[in-house]
Amino acid sequence: MNFVAVKMLTGDRSKYVGLIFAISVASMLMAHQASIFGNIMWRTTSQIQDVRDAEIWVMDPRLRFVDEIEPLSDNDLYRVRGVEGVEWAVRLYKGTTRMKSPEGRLRAVVLMGIDDATLVGAPRKLKLGTLADVRRPDAVIVDEAGYRDLWPGQPLTLGRTLEMNDRRGVVVAIADSSPPFLSVPLLYTRYSQALSYIGRERNQMSFVLVHPKPGVETAALTQRITAQTGLRALTRDDWAWTTIRHYLANTGIPVNFGITISLAFIVGAVVAGQTFYLFTIDNLKQFGALKAIGVSNRRLVGMILLQALIVGGIGYGIGMGLAAAFFETTKNLIALRGIVLLWPVMLGTGGAVMVIIVLASLMSIRRVLVLEPAAVFR
């Protein structure tokens, strides 16, 4: 009878296409918006994720997220270095400042000051130049998106100059950094150089980056650092999730995306449900005839669920294809680079589509279950 169910479904072309369209659009919207949301949330942690040399971030205990800085003192660095199990601990500066390009444009930038000696915290992937060049005087590394923002339409070239706090900077490398949350250029320079770009403040160290000795458990070391120094020590992942939770709790981003995703779900469920219900109503006489002939309720429910699964599966497939095509098409745009269709989102959307088709078929199933086969004689 599965073949009968399939032919009944595909025989009514307009409703069949309508159902698939509704589920395709709903799943595409849900996956699209949820993926952008997930990627944007991940972007809030991009500067944490890009530091791969250190497993532990130590910070002022009042810090709530990575873009909120409470400076540490040099003494804090030494105290961290004194904790058992720490192989090395280095400074990291992170802050926002203004830079002036040679064309006189003032731009906000994120400035990362990496340890002068070890260069821990430097970007791993460079599009142009070498990391060693950052040791040269006035050297800065700029991320590719920032470069294209500062010098739009111009080829990637080293040696360009900029100015911060009346001090000169020279681009010695271009980094392929993870996209930051804010669309501002990301500059890397040595810690000492960064301080000269900032000036004035007494304490400027934002974080201490720590690497444990071999065999030392990272989580245990974070607890020990916290206990011995009074500072807050978190693993890279914990710090990233702390930052994400802050943005989730304190911005309108999840609400805005949530509304769109919810609307996609609701509209998808309503349109699919209504169309599926109409499809069942149109076939009620036929369902009645099948009941009279000797098709059990269980089999009829199976037929309806099979029909729902088919439109759900096809609609979901098309929706995922459209979402993937969007991200593939836009992957080279600066604003959307790095935003991809996330597999957890695909799974979640699949679950949502399942819920939609179950909801859509419930009314139909109920209508068929209460249908008296004798009605076929009326």
Partner: protein, 242 residues
């Protein structure tokens, strides 16, 4: 499988004794059947006739097990269907009954052959085999060339013949037809009835036709007249008399 056949000894496919059927309760209670006594013999085409609202279709539904009776006894092919569970009743209908509906109720997305094959598919026969068998039957009914046509591409008479094929395909012992000629013109109706009589009536099978179309009464072996929920007379036309 429900054991049937006790009635073969008596040549009675359906035996109704004092069957009543009421709808609603209290003041809204309506008695559609008021003590029906009727026997439908095997090997005969029995017509159930009467004015609109006399209870013909209700009786047909009760006999077919599509409606529960309120009181009385019904033996269908020797089985008191009231004693069967819901699943057994469905299986009984699937195996032993064939249905012809007034509006045919063919599945619009299936071809003629596929529509005729539905009872076999419901019974678990493989699709290819079921359609092959349905095609053979359509050939007998003169529709072999139209086996791939959808219902919408068939005339009313052709659709009714497909409905006959669907009712006959699984060789049921009892065929119930509800107003089979109501949607047909006189000539087509008579041709369809002639075909039904030719292919459906067998010694081990009974055909029960509900109709108010007096132009086809001459195809009946027995005519049961209903009025106001009761059988008021049994007529044996010339065919049986002869």
């Amino acid at each position: 499988m429900i054991a049937v056949g006790a009635t073969q000894e008596t040549d009675v496919a359906v035996a109704c004794r004092g069957v009543t059927k009421a709808f609603g309760t209290g003041e809204a209670r309506v008695e559609a059947l008021r003590g029906v006594d009727l026997e439908v013999p095997l090997g005969r085409l029995t017509m159930l006739v009467g004015p609109s609202g006399c209870g013909k279709t209700t009786l047909l539904s009760v006999i077919a097990g599509l409606l529960d009776r309120t009181a009385g006894e019904i033996q269908v092919l020797g089985v008191d269907t009231a004693t069967l569970s819901g699943a057994e009743q469905i299986a009984f209908r699937r195996t032993h009954l064939g249905f012809v509906f007034q509006q045919y109720n063919l599945l619009p997305a299936l071809t003629a052959a596929e529509n005729a094959a539905v009872p076999l598919l419901v019974g678990g026969v493989a699709r290819r085999r079921a359609v092959e068998k349905a095609t053979e039957l359509l050939e007998v009914l003169g529709l072999g060339a139209r086996r791939h046509a959808l219902p919408a591409q068939l005339s009313s008479g052709q659709q009714q013949r497909v409905a006959f094929a669907r009712a006959l395909i699984h060789a049921p012992r009892l065929i119930v037809c509800d107003e089979p000629t109501a949607a047909l013109d006189v000539d087509t109706g008579r041709r369809v009835m002639a075909l039904l009589t030719h292919v459906a009536v067998r010694p081990d099978r009974a055909v029960l036709v509900v109709t108010h179309d007096n132009r086809i009464f001459d195809f009946a072996d027995r005519i049961a007249h209903m009025e106001d929920g009761r059988i008021v007379g049994i007529e044996t036309p010339r065919k049986e008399a002869a």
